[in-house]
C-alpha cells in the first residue's frame, strides 16, 4: 500500500466512482472535452531548443518492438508530435 495506507486497488475503486458513463455503456475517465489538461501557466519546459539536435528517440511500435525514430527517418525532415493519449 502507499504511504497513506491505501492499496492500488482501493485507489482505483475510488477513481472508478468518477467514471463518466454514456448511454451506450461506454466508460470514459472524464466527460469528453474535460480531460486533464493541467495547463501550465507562464513559462514551462518545452524540451530541446530550436537550433539543437533532437535527442535519440527509441520507443515501441504497435507490436511492442523497439522503434528507433532517427534510424527510421533516415535523412528526411520530420515532424514529431508528443501528444497526451490516443485512449482519452
Amino acid at each position: 500500500m502507499n504511504q497513506h495506507g491505501v492499496t492500488g486497488e482501493q485507489l482505483a475503486a475510488r477513481r472508478a466512482g468518477q467514471f463518466w458513463r454514456d448511454q451506450d455503456g461506454f466508460l470514459s475517465p472524464v466527460r469528453p472535452g474535460e480531460g486533464p489538461r493541467r495547463n501550465p501557466e507562464g513559462d514551462f519546459p518545452t524540451g530541446p531548443a530550436v537550433g539543437t539536435q533532437l535527442p535519440e528517440i527509441v520507443a515501441l511500435d504497435g507490436s511492442g518492438n523497439a522503434f528507433d525514430l532517427h534510424a527510421d527517418r533516415g535523412d528526411r525532415a520530420a515532424i514529431v508530435v508528443f501528444h497526451r493519449s490516443a485512449v482519452w
Partner: protein, 297 residues
C-alpha cells in the same frame, strides 16, 4: 507529407496495444510510438509535472507539443501552447517542415488593380486546431505595396480580422520585403507580384455544456470569417491613397475525434477504448507495489 518527403511520427505514454487499436480504428498511416514508462518524455524534459504521481492513470503524460526537424535532425521550429486545447494544424506543420517559404506559383493573369483574395489554408476549421487565414494580394506590374519599415506618410500592408468572441486570432505573419531603391537613393521595403499574409486562427468549441446544462456540440457548423485588408500602392511616379478592402471567407467548423468516447455521431469504429482505459487504471497497482517495496527496505 509523404509526397514532400517529410516523415511524421507521434509518441505518447499509451501502451503499444492501445496505439495499434487506434491505428487500425482510424486508418492512421504514420507510426504511433509507445512510451509507456514515459522514458522518452522524461528524457526530453517535458513530463507534465503538474499531474501528481498519485494520479497514476494520467501521470506520465507530457506537456504536449510538436517538434519540426530538418534532414540533419536539427530542431527548426517547435509548437507548444499554454492552453493545451490549441495545436498547430497539419498545413502549418508541413509549411514549417518545408521552411515556411512562399512560392507564388505560375505568374497570374495581369491585373489592372491590386486584387485581394482571402481563403482558409485547410478544408475546414476544427476547434483548437490552428490553421492559416490567408490574404493574398496580387499587385499590378510596375506597382508595389509596402512592408515594414514603411516610409513616412505611407501605410504598410496589413490585415485585421473582425472581432468574434468564438474566434481565436493569432499574430499575422508577413513575408520578407524586397529592397527597392528609388532615384533619391532611399531604399524602400516593398512587396511586388503576389504576396500572402498568413494569420493563424481557430475557434473555441467542441464538446461542452449548452445553456440548459445538456451535453452539446458547441461552435460547430458554418460561419464566416471576415475582416479588412489595408494597403497602399505606388508606382515609379506616384502613390495612391491608403485603401481598405473587406474580405469574407465562409468556413465550416467540424468537430474533432473524441477518442472512442462521446456522442455516437462522432465516435469512430470502436478502438476498445474502455479496455485500454482499464489498463491505464491498472497503473494504480504499480503505485501500490512501489510504495510497499519502499516500506519493506
Amino acid at each position: 507529407m509523404r509526397d514532400a518527403g517529410v516523415a511524421l511520427y507521434a509518441i505518447s505514454y499509451d501502451d503499444p496495444a492501445a496505439l495499434a487499436d487506434f491505428t487500425a480504428a482510424h486508418g492512421i498511416e504514420y507510426p504511433l510510438l509507445a512510451d509507456p514508462e514515459s522514458e522518452v518524455i522524461r528524457a526530453f524534459g517535458i513530463l507534465n509535472t503538474l499531474i501528481p504521481e498519485e494520479q497514476a492513470e494520467f501521470h506520465g503524460i507530457p506537456f504536449p507539443g510538436t517538434y519540426v526537424i530538418d534532414d540533419a535532425g536539427i530542431v527548426t521550429s517547435k509548437f507548444f501552447e499554454n492552453n493545451q486545447i490549441f495545436r498547430p494544424g497539419p498545413e502549418q506543420l508541413l509549411r514549417a517542415a518545408l521552411g515556411d517559404t512562399f512560392e507564388p506559383g505560375p505568374p497570374p493573369e495581369p491585373v489592372e488593380d491590386v486584387k485581394v483574395r482571402a481563403y482558409l489554408d485547410g478544408p475546414h476549421l476544427v476547434p483548437g486546431l490552428l490553421r492559416d487565414l490567408v490574404v493574398e494580394f496580387t499587385v499590378p506590374e510596375g506597382q508595389h505595396l509596402y512592408g515594414q519599415p514603411v516610409p513616412d506618410g505611407m501605410i504598410a500592408t496589413s490585415i485585421e480580422v473582425d472581432h468574434d468572441d468564438e474566434l481565436i486570432v493569432r499574430e499575422s505573419r508577413s513575408p520578407e520585403t524586397t529592397p527597392h531603391r528609388i532615384a533619391t537613393g532611399e531604399v524602400l521595403h516593398v512587396y511586388e507580384g503576389v504576396v500572402e499574409i498568413r494569420t493563424p486562427i481557430t475557434v473555441m468549441g467542441g464538446h461542452g455544456l449548452a445553456q440548459d446544462g445538456e451535453e452539446a456540440l458547441l461552435g460547430i457548423g458554418d460561419r464566416v470569417i471576415s475582416g479588412v485588408a489595408r494597403f497602399q500602392t505606388c508606382d515609379a511616379e506616384a502613390c495612391g491613397l491608403p485603401r481598405t478592402e473587406r474580405f469574407e471567407v465562409p468556413v465550416r467548423v467540424e468537430p474533432s475525434i473524441v477518442g472512442d468516447f462521446g456522442s455516437p455521431a462522432l465516435r469512430n469504429e470502436p478502438m476498445h477504448g474502455g479496455r485500454h482505459w482499464h489498463r491505464l487504471m491498472s497503473r494504480y497497482d504499480r503505485l501500490g507495489q512501489s510504495a510497499s517495496e519502499e516500506s519493506s527496505t
